[in-house]
């Protein structure tokens, strides 16, 4: 089998045809030699954009090359991945494989791919992201990081132009951006100067820039150093710098973004992440000019965003571990991975694909520039942020952050009490998870 894809080499787009996928397909053929009957694999997938559609298409080729194998892509809402999948796995009724974001948190259910894959190739291709799927003594090969994301800010450049205000420079601080966004909002009668998605993951980068450590001396989760950011964020919600609707308009730990406000031109500065580029590209169109400015700097000296993303994992409870591993390994091959990254407009976590560069399909110049800006921001990501992303307890910490910070924003708790409660909640959660 030959897979053709476009890569950017030294600024020149070249067409490559690779035999790598052929190797994977041949391997899976050998694995499946004894399988006469049709074998069905269920892949639980969610999309930020068109990921599941692209996987479905790519896997059709895998099925064609592997007669008798039927990979069914079940497209579900992201909420189902967060809430339903863990319960299904605990009950032993989960799918064979899934696209997940709670990378370390579901480790106990992962299928170890080690016996089925070329570990040397995986080490060379996915490097540090493999650790995000490992917990404790389970140090195998579990997940293929399918989309690397990084948080950062989108700015409505047209509003800055209309206000006649210059955008802060590359190393501008959060305070400088807040002042500029307020000035632009006032000058252009825009409802919201700034917004950050209602998510513990999203505030982690800014919090690190304000001094949050997220780990104690023994490597356990901690909210030490979180208070300076919490105080600033609550103050910004009180004085109208931040769109209060986003955090105060929901309860519990429910996720809420502010993308629609930005797309509607009601928001000057929107802190979200690279996965929103496709949506901005499609929905903003030529309504206004927008650009990505990465993560502002904080008083602690860091200008960190938060890495993240999603990965594809298999589950131990599958009846067809060798096929599941073959499917994931197929998707991990450089040519297939490059094609998926190009078609889904996601930053690649595959080191080979990243170093070759990706020519994102159907991306406007603004989207291409935005993705490059996000990629350029990766070196600024704090080591704390990388460690936090790989921490098995991060899902609990994200939820606690959202709940308690929201309570401080609406005045149910003082900032100090909210941070104190966050530490208590974390201690209780960790005790229950032991």
């Amino acid at each position: 089998m030959f897979v053709t894809y476009m890569v950017n080499q030294g600024g020149t787009t070249v067409l490559k045809t690779s035999f790598a996928a052929t190797t994977a397909v041949a391997t899976s053929f050998a694995l499946l030699a004894g399988a006469a009957a049709a074998q069905e694999i269920r892949f639980m997938c969610y999309s930020d954009g068109n990921e599941c559609e692209v996987y479905d298409d790519v896997l059709t080729r895998f099925e064609a090359d592997n007669p008798g194998v039927d990979v069914i892509v079940d497209v579900v809402p992201y909420q189902a991945i967060l809430e339903n999948l863990p319960v299904q796995l605990a009950a032993g009724t989960g799918p064979d494989m899934a696209k997940v974001t709670d990378l370390g948190g579901l480790n106990e259910y992962y299928l170890d791919l080690t016996p089925y894959i070329d570990t040397g190739y995986w080490d060379a291709s996915f490097g540090g992201t493999l650790d995000w799927y490992r917990v404790g003594d389970r140090q195998g090969y579990y997940g293929m990081h399918s989309q690397l994301t990084i948080t950062g800010a989108f700015v409505n450049a047209t509003l800055f132009e209309q206000a006649g205000i210059e955008m802060p420079g590359a190393d501008a601080t959060w305070e400088e951006w807040a002042a500029a966004a307020n000035a632009v909002a006032a000058a252009t009668d825009t409802p919201f100067p700034m917004a950050i998605d209602r998510s513990g993951h999203r505030v982690a980068g800014p919090a690190i820039s304000y001094g949050a450590q997220y780990f104690d001396g023994e490597g356990n989760g901690s909210f030490a150093g979180f208070e300076p950011f919490a105080a600033q964020f609550v103050a910004w919600n009180e004085d109208g710098t931040m769109a209060r609707d986003v955090w105060a308009g929901q309860g519990g730990a429910t996720y809420q973004d502010a993308a629609q406000e930005f797309i509607n031109g009601e928001l000057v500065f929107y802190y979200s992440g690279s996965w929103q580029v496709g949506r901005m590209d499609e929905q903003v169109g030529d309504f206004f000019d927008w650009q990505v400015v990465g993560s502002p700097c904080g008083p602690a000296g860091a200008c960190s965003g938060m890495p993240g993303g999603a990965g594809i994992v298999g589950f131990e409870q599958t009846e067809h571990p060798e096929i599941v591993a073959a499917v994931i390994d197929y998707l991990a091959q450089e040519d297939v991975y490059a094609e998926v990254a190009a078609r889904t407009r996601n930053l690649p976590a595959h080191l080979g694909v990243a170093s070759a560069g990706v020519e994102f399909q159907n991306a406007s110049p603004a989207a291409q520039a935005a993705l490059n800006a996000f990629a350029a921001d990766l070196p600024d990501v704090s080591p704390i942020a990388f460690a936090y992303q790989g921490y098995a307890g991060n899902r609990a910490m994200f939820g606690i952050t959202v709940e308690r910070l929201s309570q401080a924003i609406v005045g149910e708790l003082s900032v100090a009490d909210a941070v104190g409660r966050m530490s208590d909640d974390l201690a209780a959660a960790m005790a229950e998870s032991q």
Partner: protein, 323 residues
């Protein structure tokens, strides 16, 4: 014609039934008919209650009981560990007590308003007004809507750029961010719940009103009793049994409130509209780690309250039957 088809069919069914009756005898034969329902009830109602008892005394985040360590009454202690039950900030599990107090206020206001408005509406609809059938249908219509539909309709009306704010802007009064302000969000939650469920209780009260004999009112008219006196001395006392049933049903339903408010506000702002069932759901299913034990303990505490309310209802019903 119908019987001509039915009779032979019944004779066919009769053959195995007679055989079964001979085999089991009359006493066991009755159990054979009850068995399907009992099995379903046992599996889907009784067994979960028993399992819940076990979950409430276990810890950890595993789903399977076998993998869960026994913690005794720790979950109940966690829930009830408070400096003052009146101030959730002094409680170890402050979110639980916020939900308890939110639910208490919500049920008090919602049931009070709902029974009051339902009574008023039933009295008006019981009179000989024009288009009475139409208005009865109008008041009952919200009951037919799915809770999520109710929530979405009102969310569209009340959101920052919703219909109500557009109207207020048009009148020059300026909009209010209804769902971001804790007091407004709570008040609207009560209003929506009353709007959505009032029709059901209106219907029950209307049936109660229609059961009051007309001759009692005719006698009152002959005695020149005022309408107010007729209402307080005839309508209210004779409607009291129905009112009690409505009150208890509304109380039970109020404590169980979850879906429409969850879809409407998500429990926010902060925890302003988080009620007890949402607390249980979030602890057990939406959060990380999933604290099934704490959720089960909280649900048992709610169940105890509901059992008390149900016993009151049964007692009221029995008193009515006994006269």
């Amino acid at each position: 014609m119908f019987l001509a088809i039915l009779n032979p069919l019944m004779r066919i069914i009769e053959i195995p039934m007679l055989a079964l009756q001979r085999l089991l005898g009359m006493r066991l034969f009755a159990w054979a008919f009850l068995a399907p329902n009992l099995i379903l009830f046992g599996l889907f109602a009784f067994l979960p209650v028993i399992l819940n008892l076990f979950y409430a005394t276990t810890g950890g985040d595993n789903v399977l009981l076998a993998d869960r360590p026994d913690v005794g009454l720790r979950n109940f202690v966690t829930l009830t560990d408070c400096g003052s039950y009146l101030d959730p900030n002094t409680c170890r599990e402050d979110k639980f007590w916020r939900a308890v107090w939110n639910t208490t206020w919500f049920v008090t206001l919602q049931v009070g308003f709902m029974v009051g408005f339902a009574l008023l509406t039933a009295i008006i609809l019981n009179r000989d007004i024009r288009a009475r059938g139409f208005f009865r249908a109008v008041f009952f219509f919200p009951v037919l809507l799915s809770p999520v539909v109710v929530a979405l309709i009102w969310k569209w009306i009340l959101q920052r750029e919703g219909v109500l704010n557009a109207f207020l802007d048009w009148t020059g009064m300026g909009g209010i961010n209804w769902l971001v302000d804790a007091q407004w969000a709570f008040a609207w939650s009560v209003f929506i719940s009353v709007w959505a469920h009032m029709g059901f209780y209106t219907l029950i009260l209307l049936a109660g009103l229609q059961a009051i004999p007309r001759d009692v009112y005719e006698a009152a008219i002959m005695d020149r009793a005022s309408p107010w006196r007729s209402f307080t001395r005839i309508t209210l006392p004779l409607l009291a049994p129905t009112m009690l049933v409505v009150l208890v049903l509304a109380l039970i339903k109020g404590v169980q409130t979850f879906d429409e408010i969850y879809a409407f506000t998500g429990g926010g702002p902060g925890t302003a509209t988080t009620f007890i069932i949402q607390y249980i759901y979030e602890e057990g299913f939406a959060g990380a780690p999933r604290l099934f034990g704490l959720a089960a303990a909280a649900s048992l505490m709610v169940a105890a309250v509901l059992v008390v309310l149900t016993l009151i209802q049964l007692w009221v019903n029995r008193r009515n039957v006994d006269g």
